[in-house]
Amino acid sequence: MNVFMTQTLNGLGLGSIYALIALGYSMVYGIVKLINFAHGDIIMVGGYVVLLMMVTMGLPLWMAVIGSVLFCALAGVLIERIAYRRLLNHGAPRISLLITAIGVSIFLQNLFQLIFGSDAKSVPQMFAFPPIAIGSLQIASSTIINIVVSVLMMIGLHLLVNKSRMGKAMRATSEDAGAAMLMGINTNHTVAFTFAVGSALAAVGAVLYCNTYPQLKPVMGNLLGLKAFVAAVLGGIGSIPGAMLGGYILGVAESWTKSYISSNLTDAVVFGILIVVLLLKPTGLLGKNVKEKV
């Protein structure tokens, strides 16, 4: 029972990271119907910025974290502005956007290999306090931090989307960009803002990831991004609660597989779950059943 509880909590901790990253995929998809495959690499960028600021520049941790979040938000806006906006505003087919996103991803990976080398870099200890014991149950500090931070971020995002003016503009743009524009909403700014928020969340995910698994590689965004994308699809892409739910499910499934089946099978189980869910409920767990008008 203790092993089960520990593994479930570890899974939720890992799932929190997936959830934060999945939110970025889901928000961007919700607003411009683009699967932003470069999103996974933003995590990598976020990780390297933390490393650079903490180790090379010797700045305190909190500055490195804020710096990384701001840098990633800016990177997200720049990517949207340079790579996607023209395509979006000229009604380019979705496949062009998708290929552009893959191009941006390859570009980022190679750029960071060029700057930092392709070998793994280790990240110094970030946040740590002794594990908390509840009865005979030991909970690692990183697990607690991951869960608490992700829940706080999601509450913040919920308020942002549902209560703020920008959130209303985001929802209006995602429902009907043309009508939103004709109600006085600057849809370009709204889309850029969405990229900024999504990338900032990815940077937070990057910090949590580095804290949990203290290692960085320029290609780390591939699998991490893919899994977060699976989480977003699993929960129903475009849905914010869906992305969170998908992230947690994935994390817990991975953790259980590692302890009860085999750690070699984790990825197989993750993608297996995706296949099963999509077969049974193609729109994902919380996805809306959208009928496209023909």
């Binding site: 913040g156 308020l159 942002l160 209560k163 703020s164 003016r165 920008m166 959130g167 209303k168 503009a169 929802r171 209006a172 429902e175 009907d176 043309g178 009508a179 939103a180 524009m181 004709l182 109600m183 006085g184 909403i185 600057n186 849809t187 803002f193």
Partner: protein
Amino acid sequence: MSKAVLKADHLGITFGGLKAVTDFNAEIGEHELVGLIGPNGAGKTTIFNLLTGVYQPTEGSVYLDGKSMAGKKPHQMVKAGIARTFQNIRLFKDMTVIENVKVAFNQHMKYSVFGGMLRLPSFWKEEDGIDGKARELLRVFNMEDLAQNTAKNLPYGQQRKLEIARALATGAKVLLLDEPAAGMNPTETMELMNAIATIRERFGISIILIEHDMSLVMKICERIIVIDYGQIIATGTPAEVANNPKVIGAYLGE
């Protein structure tokens, strides 16, 4: 006629080789209600798209209060004071009725994203103001009780009215209504006519109306512009237009 609020000066647009609208000249006075009619495919909605910045004209330009609107994007046109409704309803369906109205008030709000998230006093002050204004606007349309309903659950006629309310919430000086009575039953059309008359009184705005329901157009419009094949073929009072042989020809396919 009083001073022109909106002026279209030799407005034209070409798609590829097709001249969709040519040499469209019109002046809409303050507080005026003008009908824009013509057979299907005559270019009425294209003119609306030109007036709202959805299309950039290839010739001529639009003036609002004497200022050229050349190169303005749709959201800038709205800020300048031109708002519209759509031929096929385009509400934000998954938002509530009041959110639909509030989203259009958006551009007047000052508080920042962080103010909104942190619930700073400036946020509450403006949000309260917006909420009150949105409710007031819904009251004009007798829709206050429906404020918390999701827009897609409203009956058709109410959705049409909500679209007009949302357009008014942008603070427009000129309101463009694209077939507001389309698909309405006679009772709903009557209600709509009253609503249009009321908002014109209360908000002191100018209205351009595209409509196929001739009885509605003839009853409420002061002036009618008739177009066919993207060109103005007649303009005048309802009675003048109704007796114009060119208009009769265009409609009956002479």
